[in-house]
Assembly symmetry: C2
Homo-oligomer: 338 residues x 2
Amino acid sequence: MREAGVDARKKRILQAIIEDYVLTAMPVGSRTISRKYETSLSSATIRNEMSDLEEMGYLAQPHVSAGRVPSHKAYRLYVDGLLQQEVAADEGAKAFFTDQIRPTEDVATAAAQALAELTRYTAVVMMPKQLELRVSCLQLVPMPKGAALLVIVTDTGAIRDTVIRVSERLDSDALFSISRLLTERLAGRTLQEVQEMLGAYARMNGPDARVLEGIASLAAQMEKQSAQDTVIVAGSHNILNYPEYSDVEKARAFLTALEAKEKLTHLLSHHDAPFMVHIGSESSIADMQDCAIVTAGFPVGRGHRGAVGVIGPSRMPYDKVLSALGAASHVLGELLGE
Amino acid sequence: MREAGVDARKKRILQAIIEDYVLTAMPVGSRTISRKYETSLSSATIRNEMSDLEEMGYLAQPHVSAGRVPSHKAYRLYVDGLLQQEVAADEGAKAFFTDQIRPTEDVATAAAQALAELTRYTAVVMMPKQLELRVSCLQLVPMPKGAALLVIVTDTGAIRDTVIRVSERLDSDALFSISRLLTERLAGRTLQEVQEMLGAYARMNGPDARVLEGIASLAAQMEKQSAQDTVIVAGSHNILNYPEYSDVEKARAFLTALEAKEKLTHLLSHHDAPFMVHIGSESSIADMQDCAIVTAGFPVGRGHRGAVGVIGPSRMPYDKVLSALGAASHVLGELLGE
DNA sequence: TGTTAGCACTCTCACTCGTTGAGTGCTAAC
DNA sequence: GTTAGCACTCAACGAGTGAGAGTGCTAACA
């Protein structure tokens, strides 16, 4: 019993099995390997090797007379190999993302959509929570019929707006004065402080109460939104393209699982390495036991990090997905980092 | 051969079949009707009636020893009956929508999501194109690091914004002066005119060129967006809940068809009656031949009308869907009408 | 003339039973 | 250590069968 670990030939065979299985989604037989990949070895030899690999837990047989299917452990070995190499940033993909993601739009949504389109899998983008956001500017823009658009800009460049009602008498100059006054008093304050201060201002005979209320509620909403990581999902029904999900029940379970974003957030928030790969049960999301989740982090300023990911069947061309993610995270980092 | 049309009893039986089929999705047998709906008649009698109804094209048999399934013609008759009555506005649904749709958010998206959640079908909302939009206000809001948020408000209350770069020297007062100057000159102009005028202003030594460019591009984008009907889809994968789509291929075809929005737009744009129902092939969307599309119109001001709709299998509780749509269109009309 | 009971008939569905083919494990020879 | 050969296993497929659901038709009844 001195069978060593996985020697070079076993590794080659394992890789060949993975690649064939990724391509075809069918159990791979020894004859296939001997003819398409390791032409110098007979199927019998491959058979012996496969038998060893199975015993070591890298392969599984759906049933005795079927070929072999890679186990999660096999993917893990394969992916760890990939991750040790430099992940090549795919220039084509980078160009694609640069093209699709307009800095003036909602970058996260655009990125998720572009990534889903490119990989034909489900894509997710996580934007981290930003605590202690400080107001940088606050402005009222006149609108028809006694309404005004209240815009709050934070020091990180986040923008939020809402329509509020104001007195019909306030013209654009008056609104500007109010905006200036409010910006003067509130600039540099955290959203939390802004809400607290508004109570005191209610007694001030400056802006009318509806303006103050509007600010308070928008500040509250902003704080709530920014105080938690948000996840954006795109291309969720790409999953239907894969035979793993040709069963509607499974597909539905998957899509439902995507809607419970807490688990996803959790997964994407703890992102210490540049790339991470969760295979099968490693992700701890039930209904995604047959999936792999590949993610990449990117900086969003102030030392915070967001993450972008691809979710698909464990049978996935990890090399391609990794380089697409590399490109996506690169482009996002450039847009959102300091 | 003087069999008259559909007499009252035939209508009752047809309705019973439709209602049972909507509930169970299984072909309905004569015995079921005789026991659950028309208890005073024997199954044999029902059988004779069903045979007549089949001959008239209202029923079909999947195979000879299965029960009957309503044809599109049957749904049409049934729905026309419903439409002649006043569609009862479901107060519960109305409350639900009022609750879910915040006037300060993107109303169309919120409405689509709420409707999808309520009906458990796919929901669509169409916002009509608005030609000749006129600028009502234009304002630059200061942002950190030599950026500014350009906000354009139209006379209809539509808001669009984009981040542009401006000279670092411009403080909030300077930006306000520019805003005031620009609003003065551009207010009341159509988006088209604004773009044309900006060429002339390029020679003006007021605001810097990047501001003018920003305005031009935002105006162009606004014009493009407002010049075509837009459709928002929500709850697209609710379709997986129905046995009609337990085949993944069908589900995928449906979801793909939803992505080609032109057909949907076309359908929703020609909305003359308060309610419309397209059953099966009436919608002229391939891949939705087994679907029904139920829509309701609502006013969005200036005589324009939007539409909100539900897409699901033809086997659909039309009464419930109609009253949900009634509630949705009512709430939308109140928010968006004059 | 409309309604009903009864019965033969049809067709799907679920199950079983060979047959086929792919792929393996083992053995013996190289 | 590698390979050819062979027996073995098991899923997939098709054919055959019985049960059950539902119909159409006929004849009797009110």
